[in-house]
């Protein structure tokens, strides 16, 4: 678990910058600091919180804001489903807690580390998840309390650091040449669907499914060729 706590720290620093910005925005939209802390602890979904709060402030409707926020969170269907191999031996209560504290970053880091070291499992996921969870609550609350006294690091390109981290994690997860075509298909389908104005959450799911189907088809074709 300790390894998870420490390994995720560079990514947690990046998430803190986002959390701080969200806290500033939410406070400007009349959310009290403790309400922001409560939301971060109970919802724990960065992009969903940002979209929901912005929609709520501009439209004033709760249902519309919630649906917009949840649509962005749909990718967690696949993310949590893929954790089955990591969490299957874990007691139920721990499992229910682990799925709440899982974020994009610690999920991806767990699989990237697992690709190099198969002994990596639930303790790493939970340790890194706790770091991200606490960071998110503290940074969003800090943003609400301290306001705009700290410069917006995202404007300096910090947002790209996440893309860079995900690229590195994908490199670590790459198993062999058989992954190449499915990953290219995934990438192309996701980009095309976003350009066709499908929401990014649905494009991510559709792109991933296209990639997985490609893997299955490729393996069937190779089996037939070999036979």
């Amino acid at each position: 678990m300790k390894q998870g706590f420490i390994s995720i720290l560079p990514l947690a620093a990046g998430a803190a910058a986002y959390g701080f910005v969200f806290g500033v925005i939410a406070a400007q939209l009349d959310f009290p600091w403790w309400g922001i802390a409560l939301m971060s602890a109970s919802v724990h979904a960065g992009s969903s919180q940002i979209v929901a709060v912005e929609q709520f402030a501009s439209e004033g409707f709760v249902i519309g804001a919630v649906l917009a926020g949840l649509a962005l969170n749909m990718r967690y269907l696949g993310i949590i489903a893929s954790l089955n191999s990591v969490l299957k031996e874990v007691p139920l209560l721990q499992r229910l807690f682990a799925i709440h504290i899982t974020s994009d970053e610690n999920w991806a880091l767990t699989f990237a580390k697992k690709a190099k070291d198969p002994s990596i499992g639930a303790p790493f996921l939970i340790g890194s998840g706790l770091t991200m969870f606490v960071t998110w609550i503290v940074s969003t609350t800090g943003g609400a309390l301290l306001g705009q006294s700290i410069p917006n690091l995202i404007e300096y390109g910090l947002g790209f650091a996440f893309t860079a981290a995900f690229i590195a994690m994908a490199r670590a997860m790459w198993r062999n040449k058989q992954d190449t075509l499915p990953w290219i298909i995934t990438f192309i389908v996701t980009v095309v669907l976003i350009h066709l104005s499908l929401g990014s959450a649905f494009a991510i799911i559709a792109g991933s499914i296209a990639g997985v189907i490609t893997t299955g088809l490729t393996q069937q074709i190779m089996k037939k060729v070999a036979a």
Binding site: R75, P182, T186, T190, V191
Partner: protein, 99 residues
């Protein structure tokens, strides 16, 4: 907090956890089927590539160039923190000189 703000936080929390719980249940159900369980083994890689694609879609040429350079660094180093740091330096430098 207003009633509407309480309602927003409550429904969003319930909805967000429901999605995660549904993911947990579907992961268990899928793993019980031999053919479908392979789906779970292939899913993480495809999901992370889709996350990268979604963060690059609609971005400018400089971001795409930075991503290509970052990919090269990742291929060479296979190290998350190093790639993250070089990626940040790359985008900062490109933005500084070309924007």
């Amino acid at each position: 907090m207003t009633d509407a703000q309480w309602l927003l936080i409550g429904t969003l929390a319930f909805g967000a956890y429901s999605i995660r719980f549904l993911g947990l249940v579907s992961g268990q159900l899928i793993s019980e089927h031999k053919y479908l369980s392979k789906f779970l083994a292939d899913l993480p890689g495809c999901l992370i590539v889709a996350l990268i694609a979604s963060s690059l879609a609609g971005e400018n040429t400089i971001t795409w160039i930075a991503a290509a350079i970052t990919l090269a660094i990742a291929l060479m180093t296979n190290h998350v923190v190093m790639t993250m740091a070089f990626g940040f330096i790359t985008i900062f430098t490109l933005n500084h000189y070309f924007v």
